[in-house]
Each structure stands twice: as C-alpha cells, then as structure tokens.
Symmetry: C2
C-alpha cells in the first residue's frame, strides 16, 4: 500500500491585517541585497491604495501577472528569463492573487533554480532542486493553491502541474481583509472550486480520516457562507479563506474527481478558467455526485449565478476527441472518483455524451 508523505507549507500567518507583517517576515529572507519580486494579480494594477502597502525595499519589484488565461509554461519561462536577465538572482518571490498567481509564483520560484523549461517538469517529482524562497498570499480564496503540492500549468502537450516536495510555499499569509475587493461573481466561482474539491474528496475512493476531517470542515464552511447566510460579511471572508485552506489540505491527501478530470479538457481546448469550468461541468454531474449537485444548484440559485451554456455546441469531433483524450489521461482523478475499475464505465462514449451537454 502506498502512503503519501505530504510536504506542508513551511510557515503560516493568519489574521485580519496580517499583510502588514510581510515586511518583517521578508527581512529575514533577503540575501546579498538581491531583490524580492512581488507577483501581483493585474486586477490590482490601478489600486494605488493597495499597491502602496506592498513593502518594497532596495531594488524590489512589482510585476503584474496577467491572469486572462490559465497559467502557461511559456509564460512561466518568460517570467523566469526576464528575472534572470534583469537581476541574475533574486531573494525570493511573493505571489499575491488567486490560484493562477499563486501557481505561477510557485513555478517561477522553482525555475529560478532548475534548468530548462517548466514544461520539462510537468509531472510527479521531476523537479530536482529547491527553488528560491516563495511566499503565497491569496487575494481570492477557494482554489487551495496556497497549500497544494502542485502548480497547474498548460504546456505544449498537456495541462499538468509541477508536482513535487519543492513546490509548496515556504510561507503562506492569510489575511481575510485582502478578499474584500473580489467581485461577487468571481468569488462565487472560486468558492465553488473549494466546494467541489470537498465533494470530490469526500466521495472518492482515496478518502482517509485525514482528508475527511479537512473535507468535512471545508464543506460545512462553504455551505454556511454560500447557502445559509443571509448576506456576505467579514465573517464570510474569514470562513471562505479557511475553507480554501482546509479544502486544499483535504485533496492534498486524497485527490479530486470527475469535475476536475472533465473540466481540464474544457480548459485545455477552450481556455475556460478553472473555477467557472468546474461549475459548468459539476452542474451536469448529478449521476456521480447526486447530493453534492443538488446543494450546488441551491447555491447557484441563491447566489443568482448564471452558468454559461452552449460552449461545445459548435465544436468539431476532432475537438471533442482532444478534450476526451485530455480527460481520460487524468488517471488518478478517475481512479479516485470511480475506483480501480474506472475504465469499465468511463470511456470515449460516456465522455462524448457528457462534453456534449456543456
């Protein structure tokens, strides 16, 4: 039997206003006057108030990260090349944003110390050397990227993370005040990423008591804020931040399932963003997760969300085949969702029917 040995993030700071502690934490991590680079979601580009609170010292630099698309290996490589050209080396990278910014931060930090292209490291335990110091600061919560052992990248041939013991952050800082600026719609889709993690983890064959503890708690928190509360308040932000952390811990020790396996195909072909793609797919998964989908539909309705429709109506069969092939390649996800014999029920035909519904 295989028991995973899961690397936890090094340090965690939690608290409203804890962002002000970043300067002090970094003061112990600055090496030889090399700069700290702040990767900041370009959503904050015109938010002078927020940008003014980033504790820049010496030749530190803010780089705005374009999250129009899911993170690509080419983008990671460009960022690495540009940092290397400008500075040679850096003391560390601090990522401030949602799952995409956090994943790009992890990837570039690793690439600062590993030769070649990030595409060479898509897979399990291919990374050879620890990267530079990296800190993750979520400003949108739900993905669990702050605690995960991977950073999902779209490469030349696949969408797959650099999954390694070197990938988790050295430091995460969870300041619920940073969530205040998130647009409602985006908050919902990213929050649903967490909700779906919980459903997939709790209904998976890989489940154990460790994953269950985190998954149940994250699920309680998601239901409380998206279903049972009358309106969104500060307490909701705090709970969503912790739900994301706990949901991430839950899948770290189990695995995601059908929604992720299928939405990766959509996202690879159409560039559909991860949170929204998961929702589009999960909405049609009543056969696999009956209770989870029922509650999901209540959340959709209570939060007045319109799930995008008709994404696949005009696709060619070649395009369907590409999505199906990407999805069937996600073996651990299917094995977790269905069991070791998943190939007896999940085949080209099943997936063609499913993809046709989006």
């Amino acid at each position: 039997m295989n028991f995973r040995n899961f690397k936890l993030p090094g340090f965690v700071t939690y608290g409203k206003g804890s962002f002000q502690k970043v300067d002090e934490i970094l003061s112990h991590k600055r090496v030889n006057n090399l700069p700290v680079i702040f990767f900041v979601d370009d959503f904050f580009k015109n938010n002078a108030n927020f940008l003014g609170t980033i504790p820049l010292r010496g030749n530190d630099q803010v780089i705005f990260i374009d999250v129009t698309h899911e993170p690509k290996t080419t983008y990671v490589d460009e960022l690495k090349d540009s940092l290397t050209a400008q500075f040679g080396e850096v003391s560390g990278i601090v990522g401030i944003g949602g799952g995409s910014v956090l994943d790009i931060t992890k990837a570039v930090s690793l690439m600062m110390k590993n030769p070649g292209s990030s595409a060479d490291y898509q897979g399990w335990d291919l990374v050879k050397y620890a990267g530079v110091y990296k800190m993750g600061i979520p400003s949108i919560s739900g993905t669990g990227a702050e605690v995960s052992r991977t950073c999902v990248l779209t490469g030349p041939t696949r969408k797959l993370g650099m999954n390694s013991d070197f990938t988790p952050f050295d430091q995460i800082l969870l300041d619920p005040l940073l969530l205040k600026t998130v647009p409602e719609q985006q908050r919902f889709y990213t929050g649903m990423d967490c909700y779906i993690h919980c459903i997939e983890s709790l209904n998976g064959t890989y489940l154990n008591a460790f994953s269950r503890m985190y998954g149940e708690k994250a699920l309680d928190l998601c239901e409380e804020i998206f279903l049972h509360k009358d309106e969104w308040d500060d307490d909701s932000d705090e709970k969503l931040m912790m739900a994301s952390y706990a949901g991430g811990m839950s899948i770290a020790y189990s695995q995601v399932g059908v929604a992720h396996a299928v939405s990766y195909g959509l996202s690879y072909l159409l560039g559909t963003k991860h949170g929204i793609g998961n929702c589009i797919v999960f909405d049609k998964l009543a056969h696999y997760y009956p209770d989870g989908v029922l509650k999901f539909k209540e959340m959709i309705s209570k939060n007045k969300i319109e799930i995008p429709k008709n994404l696949t109506q005009s696709l060619t069969e070649d395009q369907f085949n590409k999505m199906i092939s990407i999805s069937l390649g996600m073996e651990p996800l299917w094995e977790n969702a269905i069991g070791k014999n998943w190939k007896s029920t999940i085949d080209h035909k099943t997936l063609r029917e499913l993809y046709g519904q989006f």
Copy 2:
C-alpha cells in the same frame, strides 16, 4: 497587533499501517552512516511484536523512555550526554509514544546541536540552531505534541517548553493502528487533553478563524467518539488521532486556558501527569467553561472514569503558594482565558480556593 507566524511540521504521512513507511522515509535522512535513534515509550518494552517492526539499520538504537514522570530538563540533558558519548553525532531521532516521548524527542534533537542545558532554552525563541532530524510518531493521541511548536519540560525553576521555530517535527507519521494498544483509562485522559484544548481555544480571547476551524472540528470528533458512539472501534482511533492533530493546530494559533494554567501548578508540585491533571482541574471549572464542563461530566460518566480526589488536602500553605505562583506565571494562558485585565479577577485568593478543591 501581533500576528504569529506558525511553523508547521515539515511532512505528514497518514494511514493505517503507514508505520511500515518509516524505513523508506529514513533512507533519505541517514547521514555519514550515523545512527538513527528510536525513543520508544517504555510501555512497549515487552512488546516483541511491535519492537520487531522498528526498522533498525547499521548501528541504529532503540532507547526506552521512562514516562513515569513528566519530562524533566535533567532527563533530556542525560539523554543528550549519553548519545554524544556513545555516537558523537546521530542522523536523527524518531520518537514513538505519547506527548512525553514526543516532547523529549523534540528536546533532545534540539540539544544535539545547541550547547549547554535544556533548562537554558525554556522560554520563547531561545533556541539558536536547528537540531538533528526528528520524526514524531504518536502511539497515544490527544496531546497535540505531534504538531506543537514547543516541548514542555519541568526544569529547576519552572515548567515551560523550548518554544521555537526549530521545535516542530521535520516529519510526523500518523498510523491509527498504533493506538490499538493504549489502555482505556489512559486513552480517556489523553483524549480529554484534546477536548480541553478545544474548549480553552474556542472560549479564549485569542481565538481567530484559523483556530476556530481546527478547534470546532476537533471538538466534534471528541464528542463523537467519547459521547455519541456506543463502543470504541477502529474508526474511533482514526478520529482521535485526527482530533489530536486538529486540537494541536487550534492551540498553536491561539492558546490554552484556565485548566492548563492551573494544572501546571499541580503537576510541578505533585508530579501529576498532564492528562489526568487537566481532568482533575477541568472538573472544577464550571464557572469558567459552563458548557464544556457539563459535557465533560457526561463523558466521565459514560466512560465510567473516576477522577482522583483529595490530592491537596494535606498540603502546607507553602506548597499551595508554590502552585499558585507557578500558575500565576502562566500569563499568556490567563490572558487568553480571561482577557487583558485577567489580574482583576485571578489572584492569590481565587487560586487558593480553586486548588483547595482538588
């Protein structure tokens, strides 16, 4: 405002039977043929079956740890001196046992790289250098020592831990099968340590959403296994193991409270073991934790436990004064429990009355 930056254990492995993975994990940690030392609770001394599963290589050694008394700085120093005399250096130390063994493992690991006596490091952030590699494997669950940033030691002048960023384990391994041998009574007292952590954390002024998430989940698990289940089974062991972990995470980011502040005094003077001391004290704390104590009394009754009585009846006033002085010294615990103005309600007289009830 002060935001703690909490060091997490490096790696975590969870699973029934995961103890068999220890050999593989250690294979990456052995340095220059230096031995790995296994600190094993002397409860296992005559358990040849279990001892046979410890993966000894080369000149590795098992040392049985005497847990008759709460861990003392003198015992830690002796263990360090004897390892240094015999081996010079070691690759690492693996602790297998309850809170005492885990705390001794953390302390000796640190002392292998820090000069002087462990008593010199009782306090906050006094440890100067990382210790040798250390792995914690609980065989009794409840204390949360597997995740804590301290190792509580009784020294020449106080009972206080070596609380530092170097103290958490590099690796924890949680195998619920190891809990099978725990005697019922001991399981209850150690489990109540966890229950009391939750009550103290959830009712403390330091509480935040991070601590609350862990505290609420650990409390749910404790109530399920000690109150709502008809009998103890494998599932109970799994849940207790996770409750201990989550309870430890909850206080790591908040603080314990009245029961711990008072029981430290008992334990310092009379050598009362931590779990049982907490129960003796908590039983009399209805004024501070009314709901928690009510449920505690239900658990006591359902599990047919007799809390020891008449411990303090024949003590001298000097002895009471010593306990009271130890307890009043636990400032952060009182501040968490009562608030910044705790000195206006907690004084010599209050504590004299309380200690007189045990």
